[in-house]
Subunit: 409 residues, 4 copies
Amino acid sequence: MARSQETETQASAPPPRQAPGTLGVGMVGYAFMGAAHSQGWRTAGHVFDLPLRPALAAICGRDRAAVDAAAARHGWAAAETDWRALIARDDVQLIDICTPGDSHAEIAIAALEAGKHVLCEKPLANNVAEAEAMVRAAEAAAARGQVAMVGFNYRKVPAISYARQLIAEGRLGPLRHVRATYLQDWLVDPASPLTWRLKREHAGSGALGDLGAHIVDLAQYLAGELLTGVSAVSETFVRERPLLAGASAGLSGSADTVERGEVTVDDAAIFTGRLASGALASFEATRMAAGRKNALRLEINGELGSLAFDLERLNELSFHDHTEPAATAGFRRILVTEPEHPYLEAWWPPGHGLGYEHTFVHQARDVVRTIAEGAPPVPSFADGLQVQRVLAAVEESAAKNSVHTPVPA
Amino acid sequence: MARSQETETQASAPPPRQAPGTLGVGMVGYAFMGAAHSQGWRTAGHVFDLPLRPALAAICGRDRAAVDAAAARHGWAAAETDWRALIARDDVQLIDICTPGDSHAEIAIAALEAGKHVLCEKPLANNVAEAEAMVRAAEAAAARGQVAMVGFNYRKVPAISYARQLIAEGRLGPLRHVRATYLQDWLVDPASPLTWRLKREHAGSGALGDLGAHIVDLAQYLAGELLTGVSAVSETFVRERPLLAGASAGLSGSADTVERGEVTVDDAAIFTGRLASGALASFEATRMAAGRKNALRLEINGELGSLAFDLERLNELSFHDHTEPAATAGFRRILVTEPEHPYLEAWWPPGHGLGYEHTFVHQARDVVRTIAEGAPPVPSFADGLQVQRVLAAVEESAAKNSVHTPVPA
Amino acid sequence: MARSQETETQASAPPPRQAPGTLGVGMVGYAFMGAAHSQGWRTAGHVFDLPLRPALAAICGRDRAAVDAAAARHGWAAAETDWRALIARDDVQLIDICTPGDSHAEIAIAALEAGKHVLCEKPLANNVAEAEAMVRAAEAAAARGQVAMVGFNYRKVPAISYARQLIAEGRLGPLRHVRATYLQDWLVDPASPLTWRLKREHAGSGALGDLGAHIVDLAQYLAGELLTGVSAVSETFVRERPLLAGASAGLSGSADTVERGEVTVDDAAIFTGRLASGALASFEATRMAAGRKNALRLEINGELGSLAFDLERLNELSFHDHTEPAATAGFRRILVTEPEHPYLEAWWPPGHGLGYEHTFVHQARDVVRTIAEGAPPVPSFADGLQVQRVLAAVEESAAKNSVHTPVPA
Amino acid sequence: MARSQETETQASAPPPRQAPGTLGVGMVGYAFMGAAHSQGWRTAGHVFDLPLRPALAAICGRDRAAVDAAAARHGWAAAETDWRALIARDDVQLIDICTPGDSHAEIAIAALEAGKHVLCEKPLANNVAEAEAMVRAAEAAAARGQVAMVGFNYRKVPAISYARQLIAEGRLGPLRHVRATYLQDWLVDPASPLTWRLKREHAGSGALGDLGAHIVDLAQYLAGELLTGVSAVSETFVRERPLLAGASAGLSGSADTVERGEVTVDDAAIFTGRLASGALASFEATRMAAGRKNALRLEINGELGSLAFDLERLNELSFHDHTEPAATAGFRRILVTEPEHPYLEAWWPPGHGLGYEHTFVHQARDVVRTIAEGAPPVPSFADGLQVQRVLAAVEESAAKNSVHTPVPA
């Protein structure tokens, strides 16, 4: 790390050959997700025993000064301003896509066609058609030994991974209910500005794609089965918001003349559904829940037990074993920090908790191992497409008076 | 109390005249709700300053021995086996109806026509038509100075009542979300028997009417506005259950030949909806959530703040004030046990919490005051009817592929 | 109850003979504790199957108007202004002492000598000598078949009683730690007035006797063993407080001339100790913990498990079973509302919680059963004396530079 | 980072000169603390704007193979087997001491005398005399512009740092109570082996120095004042434990002949004390609290408010503002993840929590800034010495029948 920080980050220099046993990563995008992924790539090899060492080969962004600064800050050896150049680099074997959803398909397909592995942030695409094209490209690439994965990082929270394990072992029995909410509050203030995340052409959807995609994926992942249909309602409570500073040149800047633009995505989406087994599911994704900062909450009830989770307390899993005598039964708070727990073999002693960013360290670990071992990618682009189909069914139902709308198989 | 316990409870004896200043109560039904209401009537006058003293005049049930035992146990001065005789008693000014829903309309209407005040357990009736007839009877009676109220007792939890006060004062600003669940688990075991609560002809519906009625009422009460429509799904996970012992005479009793009957109500109902202001609402009522015993949970988010409540911790109210600086903001746990809090003027010092049954003490207080002061009854039969209409819309939507179904005004 | 309310409460009238099968109660004191005990006596017979029916025969206080009002409010059949007259009543078999500690010994001993059963509020007395005299009187009375009990009502919280059961069954194994705090905040404000509770001559001590007595008793009750010695520190943070209004006649009432008096008891006492088995214990009793209203918190750790309790959430018990596999172990939140739990055979369905006052209903149940069954009284005056000896050792240690001070056996 | 991983780690090679603007770190020890510190040094420069870039120059341990493996795993450019050689390296400006306490003094003093900055893990030393010598060396070095700091890393939890800020701003008013516990459970099982941490000659003390040092430091740091004296009791519940495998050569290995050794440190220490202002404090440090994994819990009560913290939920701070109206007052759960909170300017959006290891990233940030800015070191060796004096007073009091023992100024 010290040495790489000394390195000048020059895109024009011939990229260094990676030593055998490394996996050269090229990342597109360097905002929030870029920073988080960087931390994952930097750390995974120092914590886990990995078959390949992730090398932060090059980062890519359109603004030269900004991307150079990002490379220096986050520890990337080089910087590119054209993602096609990034894909072309010999020292890059994996393209990590951290851009807004409207560019996912183009970059991912090009990278796969160029023989690179791909990790793509969620939601996989801004619509089903793009996601389908990405799956086709991934299938063709898989035949050539390439890996394509989607960044549902919350599967990598140890408590979530352990919950999946308990359910797969049958500890909950037949499932009856899944309830999932993802509540944030950063749009509560009507004066919050109109960013790209609030425009359909860039973000695809609002809370639905950003937050809803996570809870749809987690509900299905944990249950081990898919949604067959949904019934939905969505809302944009604040339909106009101030344009970002600089976007309204020539304005006097006085408060009463601030220029506003239309919000073209949802602030919130709530929906119900059924899983294949007949279990009922409910979902709520919103950016308008005052005081809830990152409240991704899940509860699953089965005939033999229940599980509950809250991302704001991500080191904990609540488990109720309904086979216990009633007098001593109750939801127990498991601190998911024991060496027996998923991903915990390499971290700290019991009770010394992990944080949000560790999901990206774990994701990096899993991507590297999948590539090295030739294992089927999980979660795959096909998983990402299926979630996209659920989101599309949600939007269709919301547009059709909430009528139950099947999710195509 | 000591004296009344010594009294022989004989329905044949001429009922004693109540002293001036008492309110003679006649209660129909003596199971769970009867016990809870008895505790309310017995206690209210010893805790609150009341304009009329509730007198436990007579209790009514069909089985003579059982109703006599109930009268002795619960402190009623007399016992009747015919509710018409109860209504006819001179020492009874209020009929308190604690029977299953299929008898609510007949008893309530007869009592009102006989000039009695009425308190009727929720849900008001088993269908909208019955509820409408009850409202008509209540309106006619109101013109004669009679009071008719419905037993939405959870409004009387101090934390709920205080939450309503905070919302009415504008502390949450415009509302965005209401989410309400009422989770129980007493039907999780498929061997749980087929009681009257699982038969449509007696109970009207299942979790929907029993649990859903409470959360629909509370959501609207707290928000101060009504649902305009709903989209629903419901399910009966266990469609046959063992008949109650004694109901299957002649059976060998061996496990493999136990007689089963059909469950004709829902185990669970989940639905979404909109309030008049445009706020989104979600609801879940279920008896199949393993480990959740009485988890009536509410959260309301507005532009200026949020409130959250859990009936399993009924002395607490969570309040987030979104107008505070972000660095010190957070959901605060208010112990709703201060003398300034609703109903708390007469109880214990701060931190010395109340329990479930206190809702019935508070209900008794409010009924007595409403009668004495001639105030409009809250919650009224009209409120009960409106909830019934929501429940009917839920059932209609569930039967029509979850399509959004308006609630008639 | 209705009938008793109609009764004129006249101390001069000859007391009515109780019917066979009743236990006539005479209560001294009618403030906070009097109200709570009244609720216990009124309710116990309506909820539990009791061998004797508690009859609220007479209440006693020095002020005629006040005690008459209290009798009417709380449902007592008669009122006395002299506790000796109360003891003399034929319709009184049990004297319930709810006065400040400085009168406990005199009343209790007189009642026992008069052949009455006695229930005495805690702390048993204001010093060890008084408590010893009370124990001698109780022993003599026991030989005559009388019962003497002390009102450690928190033993009657179902969660506490169930915790004792789990420990007695060996679920915690050998004990290592007991930690107990009882935190309140009603003296945080320096302007809070100087009541009798802050004067040594009436209250004996401050937080120590009021709050510390409870946690000393509970720690020993739960552990099933006694403290052998303690090391203590105590403090009076606010040494002068305003005299109560009316106590400073002739003052102008302006803020700067308000008369103040000396606080002669502790605001807080903290102490450590050892149980007979060698387990370590820590205690803190304070009225100066801002925001803590009634935070009686207990945790007990043993080789096989742990238990935790918080009176502000009195329907819950946290239990960690250390014999479980580490991956699924954790503190479970038991809702102590199942029919199998202590005292719950007669209350509401699971999850429908109880409150503070139910401890007095349970206490009434236990007193009645002890008397009817001739069982050894638990907790006895001897238990109260032993707690008094612990409190005395605490005061001695605090006065002697915190040196470890043995508790006499 | 990728580059440094490729580098051969050879102690014999001449150390490379650090580029201007870097801070070369040499770390002694590579077990738990070494891994945690490595993560801190690796990450700080990628997250925070730092005036100097930490360079992981060399790691030191006695076993060549092990230290080489540690260097490769944790990202250190070189490895040494002699700490004197480490100190001698030109590319090392800071010595980071992560060894057991018995070697702290020797290494730290040598490093300071060689002109290096020093960061030393807590407790600063195994006794007061060593700590005093270290402080003298630090003072001499300070005159030469060197920095010496002690690793009380929990001060760097954002919630703790923010709590300090609130107290310093006067939000709690005059303090009344500090209560601090640090509960772990890894010695509950009597079969847990006898490691160096259980031998006085290596560890100095047991739970007292390991856990108690943290809570003593935090209590004083948060309160902004020092303990004047303590009264203590300590215990070793399990006095013999199995020797570690390999430590008992020649044994048959059968269970009944397993060799055992004496535990010479405390399993638990509990103590009370007074702060300079007169506030009362209580402490408990134990490794025998079944089910408590890392329960460092703090609560501070003042006349104007209270704060509470639990390391098992380290992103949260509970704050009660006692100046609010009672009806809306309560402990609020602040998610200390806002950009305004300490250390949060550089991390993730609100609600995306941090973990245990981030304390070491923050510590690295603070060490670098202190060195670059020439600021007084906080926490300093003098702070470490003062904590050592408290620990010594605890041991003295425990040995002297718990008598109150002053802490030398």
